[in-house]
Symmetry: C2
Subunit: 136 residues, 2 copies
DNA sequence: CTGTGCATGGGAACCATTCTCACTTGCAGG
DNA sequence: CCTGCAAGTGAGAATGGTTCCCATGCACAG
């Protein structure tokens, strides 16, 4: 049984304010800046619950950190995420769905699930003279 | 300049002995069982080097742990992995490559990378009504 | 209003991975 | 063969995201 608490309301508010994937720690900072006081553990707990309920999407960046976002689409979809600012584009990917289904079937696998995410640097971050932090 | 050491030889040997994706710690255990003494840090370092050279493929399981495997194909590809026995099929996925490139470009993103893995239950495991032997 | 049991939060615990650094060793060059 | 030295090693410490613990707080049904 879910209770409505000051903390959960604050988290929902912050989630509604951003279009981008954010880590639990970033959300925690955003809450603090917005004047709300919410414990980090509570942020993690809340995101876990929201994720289980399908209210937020979760993905892991290259560093293995979990990123959260309230998505528009409730149905299955994929993302193109800016690895610098977190800007996100929701993608329909019928091609990928078909690929997954075909490949699974042709190899005799059942209950095939797939993961597919795109990470890049968005135009704005690129223009901002963003340094490519990769390779070297 | 790469030097051939007892440790690296042992790791290569163990990698050649398995078809399945394994974690650094599992590899470390396998080395110990095979009678070789190799530090865990060395296993990590070796896997990192092999991964950079494209000699092993890396993927992250649901728990965020890195799994390694020596793949047949040297070129970029994806995997269909049995979530029960770990059996792995290497996949060519031109469709996915094109999708990633097109989507990235049409949204003005650069340096677009993608992840795409399929997890399912293979025919044998399905027939055996098998119990999950992995994870833990 | 009140009790009760879900919720909170600060800090400790967890745990895979990386780092440190003194020590070892492969191997090119002599 | 030697030898010097840069690359490699490993035990343990550090890191850092995430979860756990537990005393205290508080939402809300009755
Ligand atoms: Mn899909
Ligand atoms: Mn690909
Ligand atoms: Zn960006
Ligand atoms: Zn199987």
């Amino acid at each position: 049984m879910q209770r409505m608490t000051r903390q959960r309301a604050a988290v929902s508010e912050v989630l509604a304010d951003t279009e981008d994937f954010r880590s639990a720690q970033q959300l925690h900072d955003m809450l603090r800046e917005a004047g709300h006081s919410v414990g980090l553990a509570t942020v993690y707990r809340t995101m876990q619950t929201l994720a289980e309920n399908g209210d937020v999407d979760v993905l892991r960046n290259a560093e293995g950190e979990s990123l959260f976002r309230r998505c528009r689409k409730q149905v299955h979809h994929h993302h193109l995420v800016c690895r610098i600012c977190g800007r996100t584009v929701e993608l329909d990917a019928g091609v990928v769905e078909h690929w997954a289904a075909d490949v699974g079937q042709s190899h005799g696998f059942v209950d095939v699930e797939h993961t597919a995410e795109l990470f890049g640097t968005c135009a704005e971050c690129m223009a901002a003279g963003a340094v490519d932090t990769r390779d070297a």
